[in-house]
Amino acid sequence: MAFWEIIFYWVTLVIYSLAAGGFIYSFVFKNPRVLPRITLLVTSGFIAHTSTILARFQATGHLPWSGHYEYVLMGGWFIIAGTIFVGWQNKSLQGLAVATVPLVIIMMGYGYMQNPGLTPMAASLKTVWLYIHVYFAWISFGAYALAMSAGVLYLLKSKSDLLPVPNPAYEKYPSLDRLDELIFRYVVFGFITDTIMICAGAIWAKDLWGSYWAWDPVETWSLISWLIYGITIHLRVTFKWREKRLAWLAVAAMSTVIICFFGVNLVVNTSLHIFQVR
């Protein structure tokens, strides 16, 4: 890792951890007044996160594309960028960071333990399809993470609403009706970008490996994940699955994405998608 990269990396982790702690404080001590400050913290963390990426870019000459460390660095950036963007568009959605920030902290911690060494851009990544395939993968990951986050918020808020005195910390968040629809909206957005990611990946694979589909473990798992979200959309539109069932589904479906991005390579070593430099 480059010198400034290490500095900004730790600054980012500390700020995100403070933000996550702030959310816990807000919920446990039923204090919604700290929420705007937490949003400020998340934004500061995002600036430090961006600086980490820029410091690495300066050292390697390319954006972080390869290896688990770079993957979570950039993937986490997209998740937080999405969180800040939706929170900026609609203030009541700033609370989505309650689940996305801890997720990014875990991802960054995991990435740090992998291969953070500085490496040049591998030949296999020098193609325009990288931008389409990987960017859309990150965007879909971010959207699914937001759907999961909205699901978590829905479940917490609905539980709080059952109490004789609901926790005021949830008052600033959207109503349950709106959260329910937001889960679906993020799932839909993730599904669209996921579709583009898979199609672009197949076209890239044809040029890189000679085969557009090879039942590679990561390919297969991404198809499973796509099918799960496809089922989620059908359950919502046709079977009218809403509220808690949809929220649980959004949380559970996220596990397929996490398995696809991180889990497969932990248990299978035959994947061509090694997310490593070769």
Partner: protein
């Protein structure tokens, strides 16, 4: 019969099939597959022959093409066909447009959003309609009663998206039956004229059920790998085709001719080795293709001697042991071990343009060009497949982002004041659509609407 069709076309059946396919795919991830990890499979077969034979019998070691999976796919596409067929009238109804759709907003059924706005001075119903048209609504009627719809044709995208699956299937089937796959090793300076015998014997080439072998002629003019540290950053393989045209092949850049692709797969070194006797007479001379860049030794024979070669691209001695500083070709060296009649007769280092003396022989390395392995694949059906991908992308974006919104409106007057009554509905969303409609009319008329 109608009961069976109803069952086969139900969404419950679709979801069951998708879940079962998912289970098959997960099995494919855990059970070593013959076609994907053959060595692992063979090792496993050796260790647990009964279990593997049983799984073979069930088709679980070739899960993606097993009869169970193929049957599931068959029912999936049957289900999809029936669903599409049944949905066509519904889609036609949903995209239809008629004056009958203009209904009193106060009594319209199925419109969850209902609002009334006081009309400011100088603003009439026609102004509202004009603004709606500007915002890409199609509007029927007039200020006394209108129906406005945005993204009316969106339900068509349902058909496009689901039909794209059939194109992907068709493209895939055509590809499978017209597919040739073979591996071809060519060194710098070698010419390929499409001879079937030039393909590597192992793995055996896959011949197409329909169509011929790749028809290509070219000469490998140069091979230039580029490595920084331990990372291959690029490779330039220059080919000269039969018509004198020059092509550069690299990672991500295959040589394409007709339906055939020559994909760069592997790099090796092919040194020109000359074996001489003690008198200096040449016993053997050949370019030897050695697969040594993965830091594994490779073997070859010359004039009755068996050689084992280990390659160090950036040779150095580390604590007295042979090592490579990096994967860069800064100081390429072979460590050669020689056997004859089962006995080791010599070993030593041979650098580029250097030599090694052993047991009265002399092995010289005159030059060290590279060789490449091409993954040669010929398949028709890709245009159909890619069209399927494009339609799937267009369909999913159109259907899920540009969904249909409908509005009913009418201007009513009471006690000298005029109000715009509005009812609205949207596909997929209720509350978020209400927010959207409120924002739309606030932009047109200013604040003051009340949702009921």
């Amino acid at each position: 019969m109608s009961k069976l069709i109803k069952k086969l076309s139900s969404l419950r059946f679709t979801i069951t099939l998708i879940c079962l396919l998912g289970v098959m795919f997960i099995i494919g991830l855990w059970v070593p597959q013959k076609s994907l990890v053959k060595e692992l499979y063979l090792q496993w077969h050796k260790n647990s022959p009964q279990l593997v034979s049983f799984l073979d019998f069930l088709g679980l070691t070739t899960v993606y093409t097993s009869p169970i999976t193929v049957t599931l796919w068959f029912f999936f596409f049957l289900n999809l066909s029936l669903v599409i067929w049944q949905r066509i009238p519904l889609v036609r109804y949903r995209i239809s447009l008629s004056e009958k759709m203009i209904v009193d907003p106060e009594r319209a059924a199925g419109y969850s959003f209902s609002t009334s706005f006081p009309l400011p001075q100088g603003v009439g119903g026609e102004n509202v309609i004009a603004v709606l048209r500007k915002k890409h609504f199609t509007v029927l009627g007039n200020a006394d009663g209108f129906y406005a719809v945005k993204n009316r044709l969106s339900p068509l995208a349902f058909l496009i998206f689901h039909l794209s699956f059939f194109l992907i299937l068709l493209g895939g089937v055509i590809s499978v039956y017209t597919e040739f796959i073979g591996y071809l090793d060519l060194a710098q300076g070698e010419t390929f004229r499409g001879e079937p015998g030039r393909y590597n014997a192992s793995p055996r080439p896959k011949l197409p059920s329909f169509g011929g072998l790749p028809d290509a002629t070219f000469t490998v003019k140069s091979i230039e790998p580029h490595v920084i540290g331990n990372t291959p950053t690029s490779i330039d393989v220059r080919l000269l085709d039969g018509r004198g045209g020059s092509h550069t092949v690299g990672i991500n850049i295959p040589y394409k001719t007709g339906d055939s692709s020559f994909v760069f797969k592997h790099l090796g070194v092919a040194p020109l080795l000359v074996l001489k006797d003690a008198a200096g007479a040449t016993l053997a001379e050949n370019y030897i293709k050695l697969d040594v860049l993965q830091r594994k030794p490779d073997r070859f024979s010359l004039a009755g001697c068996n050689f084992t070669a280990t390659f160090y691209p950036d040779y150095m001695l580390e604590q007295g042991k042979r090592a490579s500083r990096s994967m860069e070709f800064n100081n390429p060296v072979f460590f050669i071990s020689v056997e004859r009649g089962g006995k080791k007769i010599g070993e030593g280092i041979i650098p580029k343009n250097g030599s090694l003396n052993f047991a009265g022989f002399r092995l010289e390395m005159h030059e060290m060009p590279y060789w490449v392995r091409f993954y040669v694949v010929k398949q028709r059906g890709l245009p159909v497949l890619y069209t399927g991908f494009a339609l799937a992308t267009v369909g999913v974006i159109w259907r899920l982002l540009f969904f249909k919104r409908e509005l009913l409106g009418a201007v009513r007057g009471s006690g000298g004041a005029r109000h715009l009554l509005v009812a609205g509905r949207s596909e997929y969303y209720k509350k978020l659509a209400e927010d959207e409609f409120m924002e739309l009319f606030h932009n047109i008329l200013g604040k003051g609407g009340t949702v009921s």
